[in-house]
Every structure is written in C-alpha cells, then in structure tokens.
C-alpha cells in the first residue's frame, strides 16, 4: 500500500461522491468526534525563488482540514486527519475518516484500500499523460547537427 503521506491526494483523485458515500456508510454504524473543529479557509504557498534562494509567497490556496476520532461498534478507537485544497470541510471529514480506517485497519479498511488503489491509478494516468506531453515534444538537436545547421 502507498505511504500515508499519499493517501489523501490519491483519494482526492476520485469523484467526491465515492468518498462521501463510503464515509456515510461507515458513519451510520460508528461514532465520530472531532479532535479539532473542521475548518475551511486559505493556506499561503511559500516558495524559495530558485535564482537567489530567497523565500516569498507565491499566493494562496483554499484549504479545508479535519481531525477526527472514530469509535467503532466494538469500541475500538482510532484517529484520522486530512487537509485538502478545497473549501469543503465535509470532504475533509470524509477523508479524515478514510485516513483513520486505513491507519488503524478498522473493519472495512479493504474497501478504502480499493478506493485508494483506484485513486493511485488515476494519478498514474495523469502522470503518464504529462510525461507523454514531454516525450512527444522533446527536442532532438542532433538532427540539426546532421545537416550541419547551427542553432541560434
């Protein structure tokens, strides 16, 4: 299984409805309590410029976060959290639940793992598309050398 640091982004690649409906199913039999009140707002993106290596803010991005504690029907406790580039706290809470289920291998974790695998596959397709964009436009300067041309 992929590392926990990739779970949230992989699951976000799926249609939201899939995550929300799975979370709803789990919530119908478990108790979920927020460890921290879910929030939606903005994050600031801090970069270092690659010329002189000075930090600066490129801009902002929407951010929703959730940190929950879940108690299963048999009394097992687990914690999960999620932060996403979206204004939807409902989705962040659902992803935090998935995080808890996967981390603690709570009942039904295989369902979440299947979704995770589907998300990973979508991200792999996107990565492949980007690499094909690069490979189909890769410049072969040797062609110019063959005809004795000089590039300006």
């Amino acid at each position: 299984m992929v590392e926990r640091s990739q779970w949230c982004s992989a699951l976000q690649a799926l249609p939201e409805e899939q995550i929300l409906s799975l979370a709803k199913e789990m919530l119908s039999v478990w108790q979920v309590r927020p460890k921290v009140i879910p929030q939606a707002g903005l994050g600031m993106l801090k970069l270092h410029d690659s010329a002189l290596c000075e930090p600066f803010y490129l801009g902002e991005f929407p951010l929703a976060s959730a940190w929950i504690e879940v108690e299963t029907a048999d009394g097992t406790l687990a914690e999960g959290a999620a932060q996403i580039m979206s204004a939807r706290t409902e989705l962040a809470e659902a992803l935090a639940l998935c995080d808890a289920v996967l981390a603690a291998r709570l009942p039904g974790w295989q369902q979440v793992a299947e979704l995770l695998a589907a998300g990973v596959a979508i991200r792999a397709r996107i990565a492949t598309e980007r690499k094909r964009i690069l490979s189909s436009t890769q410049v072969d300067f040797s062609l110019l050398d063959d005809v004795g041309g000089e590039d300006a």
């Binding site: 926990r4 640091s5 990739q6 949230c8 982004s9 976000q12 921290v36 929030q39 939606a40 707002g41 903005l42 994050g43 600031m44 993106l45 801090k46 970069l47 270092h48 410029d49 690659s50 010329a51 002189l52 290596c53 000075e54 930090p55 600066f56 803010y57 490129l58 801009g59 902002e60 991005f61 929407p62 951010l63 976060s65 940190w67 914690e79 999960g80 959290a81 932060q83 996403i84 580039m85 979206s86 204004a87 981390a103 990565a127 492949t128 598309e129 980007r130 690499k131 094909r132 964009i133 690069l134 490979s135 189909s136 436009t137 890769q138 410049v139 300067f141 590039d151």
Partner: protein, 370 residues
C-alpha cells in the same frame, strides 16, 4: 476631491443586473450554459491568468468568476480577490522547492543541451498565426477523436518525475552569485497583510508581481527591453508544470501532499557584475513565477526582478528600476478600480470645476474690459 451622498437610481442599478445577465443568456433556446470544467479546460490560459491575478489557486471558483464576469479578466480577478478576503488564513506551507515540479514544458535559451533535455510541451511559439477555420464547426465527435488519438499516438515515456535546474550547473562553476544566507532565513513579506511602504524587501516585490496584471508587468518590462533599462536577459530556464503542495499531517507531522498547483517559473541570466562579496565577476539573475501557465508574465516578472534589484542597490535610473513605480502600478485590481471610479458620479467636484472656470473667465473678461 469631494463627494456627496445622492439618492435615486436604485431601480436603474437593479436593472443593470438583469440586463447584464440577459446579455449572457441571449442565445436563448439555442444556447448552452458554460460549465466551469469547460472554462477550465478549453480556456485554460485565460483561466490561469485569472487564478494568478486573483492570487488564490481555486480553479473552479476562477471559472465561476470568469463566467460571472462574462470574460472580463480584471473583473474576474477582482471577484476572486473579494472571495479570498472573506476567508480566514489557516496556515502556510513550509518552504516548497520548485525542483519538485511535475513538468509539462521546459526550455532554455542559454544552452542547447541541458540535463534532462528540452521539452517544448504545449506552446504556440512555432505555430503560424492563421485562423484554423475547421474549429468554426467542430463537432463533439471530432473533439473527442482528437483527444483519443493524441493519447494513443504519443510516445511512451520513461522520464524522471522531476528535473534539475539549468542554473545549478552555472552555480557549480561559480558563475552565479552565492545565495544570501541571511535573506534565505528571513520571513517573507506578506502583501495580503501589510501595505507596501517603501523601501520594501525583495520578497514583497516578488509576491506583488506574482499576482500582478499581465499586461501591466509586460508593459513595464518591455520599456526595459526597449532601452529604458539594461537587463539584456537570457532565459536560463522556463518551466511549466505542477508543484505538489505539502503540509504536515496533523497526526504524524509527516509532510503530506494536499494538492498541486499549476505554475510557470522563469529564471533569467543578466549582465555580469562584480559580486560584492567575491573578487570575480558573476552573472546577475532575475526570477519570475506565477500560478497557471503564463510565460509572458513569468518572463516579464524575471526581467523586472532583475531591474528592481539594480534599482534597490544603486538607485533607479529608469522607471522599471524604481520599486515604487513598478509595484504600485502593476496590480490589476488596484489600477482597474482607480480607473473605473472615474465613471462614478463626480457631480460636486465637477460643479466646482465649472464654477472656478466661470470665475476665471469672468476675471479675464473684466481685465480685458479694463
């Protein structure tokens, strides 16, 4: 300047909303409402511009703003900026590193052979600027066929996930200035929280230009290129791609990807000068970056960054080197707001102008008549 409260016009103002929306929908039965995905995908460069100038990476909201503003980029960026002003600031990322960008384009005008190679990506640089008449009546089938065919015909690629920077090689050869360790540790200036009171640090200039209006940046950078300045840039590297946005996981503390932003980044190499701390001459550098795919903006910003560094160091010799001149005139929302406020009623101030003109003319007449 004076203002006066006036009454009336409420019905007319309410009517403008209806008329504005009517013009958006006047195709009537034959029309289809624009959906936000279509705007994001098919008008991607326009969309990226609004994200960049709005200063917040919210693709769906940027599409909505464009739809609502009926394609006016300044108005759309204004709507997005207004939205962000209603949102609380939750956190900031750790310092992110653009060498981790998942690239879709990467070129250098400085070297033919760069580590990893040059890849043109999606560009119109080599296209003829001739109308493609076949797009006038493009069918849905044809649209889907293009998408399908491209993917099946594009070559398989065994490429790395990220690429080294062209500047790294020059830095290793000692041809670039050494990074300022103190500046690298300094907290960056937050233009969303603090007003620009000059002199401002370079981080304020970079942040201001990153969300500046493209045409304004280009105009001032162009003045430098044409001769009101002497940057003489060479594009060391121009890259477009997606930067993973990382935040610590609330439970584990491990850096976790929360999403990605499309961005354009440009480094220019400019004329060399003696390094203040080194005995030998080194190239000078300029840096540009913005949300979205916007090469003109990134290159213009990099040129202006270099020009402003010169102005901050030795005093401005032309407008593009003057931080106050550049940074206070490139924000689209500021400049558009000032410009369009002239449409608003100035009845009292203009009445005053008329009174003064009449008085002056009367005095002149009195003088002429002795």
């Amino acid at each position: 300047m004076g203002y006066v409260a006036i009454k009336g016009g409420g019905r007319a103002i309410a009517g403008t909303k209806g008329v504005f929306d009517h013009l958006r929908t006047r195709q009537g039965e034959a029309g289809t409402p624009l959906d936000t995905d279509t705007i994001e995908q098919q008008l991607r460069l326009l969309h990226g511009r609004v994200i960049s100038e709005g200063g917040v990476y919210a693709p769906q909201l940027a599409s909505l703003a464009l739809k609502q503003a009926q394609g006016d980029t300044l108005e759309a960026a204004f709507i997005l900026r207004a939205y962000r002003s209603t949102q609380p600031r939750l956190t900031e990322t750790p310092l992110l590193d653009t060498t981790k960008m998942r690239l879709t384009r990467r070129i250098s005008a400085a070297f033919k052979d760069i580590p990893g190679g040059q890849m043109l990506g999606a560009t119109t640089d080599y296209h003829l600027r001739m109308l493609r008449m076949e797009l006038l009546k493009e069918s849905s089938e044809e649209f889907r066929r293009i998408s399908r065919d491209w993917f099946s015909s594009a070559p398989e690629a065994d490429l790395p996930d990220s690429f080294p920077k062209v500047l790294d090689g020059l830095r290793q050869q000692g041809l670039l200035p050494q990074p300022d360790a103190a500046a690298a540790e300094r907290e960056p200036f937050d233009i969303t929280r603090e007003p620009l009171i000059f002199p401002v640090p370079r981080s304020a200039a970079l942040a201001t230009m990153a969300r500046a209006e493209q045409g304004s940046l280009l105009a001032i950078a162009y003045s430098n290129m044409r001769g009101y300045g002497d940057v003489h840039p060479t594009v060391a590297e121009l890259r477009v791609g997606y930067l993973p946005v990382l935040l610590p996981h609330p439970i584990t503390g491990e850096l976790t990807e929360v999403g990605e932003v499309e961005m354009t980044e440009c480094e220019v190499i400019a004329m060399y000068e003696d390094d203040a701390d080194q005995s030998k001459a080194v190239f000078t550098l300029g840096y540009g970056a913005c949300y979205g795919h916007n090469e003109v903006k990134a290159i213009s910003m990099a040129i202006l960054d270099r020009a402003l560094q010169a102005g901050m160091k030795s005093g401005p010799r032309n407008p593009s080197e003057d931080p106050e001149f550049v940074l206070l005139h490139v924000d689209g929302i500021d400049s558009m707001g000032f410009c369009t406020h002239y449409k608003m009623p100035h009845y009292v101030t203009f009445q005053s102008d008329m009174d003064r003109l009449r008085t002056t003319r009367q005095k002149q007449t009195d003088k002429e008549q002795g």
